[in-house]
């Protein structure tokens, strides 16, 4: 689920923090910059693991702060393909089941990847898995708050950097439209179309044995 990523960055320490130990200031700055943020094509950064190398600090003309190039390793949430994860169902909609892991919310299980046959119950706004045994058809409701085990099938990184002035003009002309839809920078697509992937208890396993 978590990986260690080696990164390099230049950290700026303002003069009023010169009395503190350099390592501490740098650790704090890096965490301030990266913790709980998604880095494009890398993942969701959690916290600093360690500092591998500190290069010399420079002070540039016009700015009293010191700039230090730092080589460090960061703990990043980046599940590998086909990894099994356990999450909680946050909500259901027509485009699938939305699962959350607490610190990461943008996980979707599209309708095709649900255990077939599955149908969407409009009244309760939940997805239902109808599975048939010898006794008859049972309905498994995917209620909110239920734990669900799923396999990571795909991941998408979206670059949410601000766009240039040309597209800003187009958006001001549509000022009457709603605020631009915020895109999640990192989304995971999951699948539960395999035996034992719904639920985490042993009850489901017994049903299949």
């Amino acid at each position: 689920m978590f990986v260690l990523v080696e990164m390099t960055d230049t950290v700026r320490i303002p003069p009023w923090q010169f009395e503190r130990k350099l390592n501490e200031s740098i650790a704090e700055e890096l965490n301030k910059k990266l913790a709980n943020k998604v880095v494009y094509n890398v993942g969701l950064c959690i916290c600093l693991y360690d500092i591998t190398k500190l290069e010399d600090s420079y002070i540039f003309p016009g700015d009293g702060a010191s700039h230090t190039k730092v080589h460090f390793r960061y703990v990043v949430f980046h599940p590998f393909l086909d990894e099994i994860l356990v999450g909680e169902i946050k909500s259901c909609s027509q485009d699938g089941v939305h699962v959350s892991i607490g610190f990461f919310d943008d996980i979707v299980i599209p309708p095709e990847s649900l255990q077939q046959p599955a149908k969407f119950d409009e009244a309760e706004q939940v997805w239902v898995w109808e599975y048939e045994t010898e006794e008859g058809a049972h309905d498994l409701y995917m209620d909110i708050g239920e734990e669900i085990r799923f396999r990571v099938v795909d991941e998408t990184f979206v670059d949410t950097s601000p766009t240039g002035p040309s597209s800003a003009e187009a958006s001001t002309s549509n000022a009457t439209e709603e605020v631009q839809k915020k895109e999640a920078p990192y989304t995971l697509v999951g699948s539960i179309s395999e035996p034992v992937l719904t639920g985490t208890g042993e009850e489901t396993a017994k049903d299949w044995s």
Partner: protein, 185 residues
């Protein structure tokens, strides 16, 4: 600690760090959009190492301890993101089997797993999830029907159950049921 060496650049040219500024957007756990401009970070190695849940759990516990000891000397505004992500991640990891693990059990587990010829990712999943049924093993190990026979799967389950500690309450319950069963026979 050695005195920090700083050099003041006397030239008037702009800082030649060889990188361009790039804006990076990020999402907080609450869904707010954080925007920041930073010198572009060079990512040296995307997957330097896979971390088990237990290692992250240890790291976060140590970090929390450190921050508690050093007191509230930091401004809360800058640290809010770190606090949020640490809290949420700890909350999630504390619900997984890794909270009963220790460095020794992990080492023992990896040594025991050497004989089974599993890939690094599969061993990591077994360590993180602690499967108790054969179907779970089939999920985590690719093509388990071809690679492992039934006895191998059984022995794998036995190794996992014996080396990796599970929920102590559950284990007490299981052993209590076992002794009851034996005494009733």
């Amino acid at each position: 600690m050695a005195a920090r060496s700083t050099r003041v650049l006397m030239s008037c040219s702009s800082p030649s760090l060889g990188v361009q500024p790039a804006a990076v957007n990020g999402w907080g756990a609450e869904g707010q959009c954080w925007e920041l401009s930073a010198w572009m970070r060079k990512r040296k190695d995307a997957n330097a190492a896979l971390l088990s849940n237990f290692e992250v759990f240890q790291l976060l516990t140590d970090l929390k301890q450190q921050r508690k000891e050093s007191g509230k000397s930091k401004q809360s505004s800058g640290q809010q993101n770190l606090n949020t992500i640490m809290y949420e991640t700890m909350k999630y990891i504390s619900k997984t089997p890794c909270r009963y693990q220790s460095p020794e059990t992990v080492r023992e587990f990896l040594i025991a797993m050497k004989g089974h010829k599993l890939t690094k990712a599969e061993k990591l999943q077994l360590l993180n999830h602690r499967p108790v049924t054969a179907v779970e093993i089939q999920l985590m190990v690719e093509e388990s029907e071809e690679r492992l026979t039934e006895e191998q799967i059984e022995s794998l389950l036995q190794t996992v159950a014996s080396i990796l500690p599970g929920d102590p309450e559950e284990q007490q319950r299981d052993s209590a049921m076992e002794t009851e069963g034996r005494s009733s026979q």
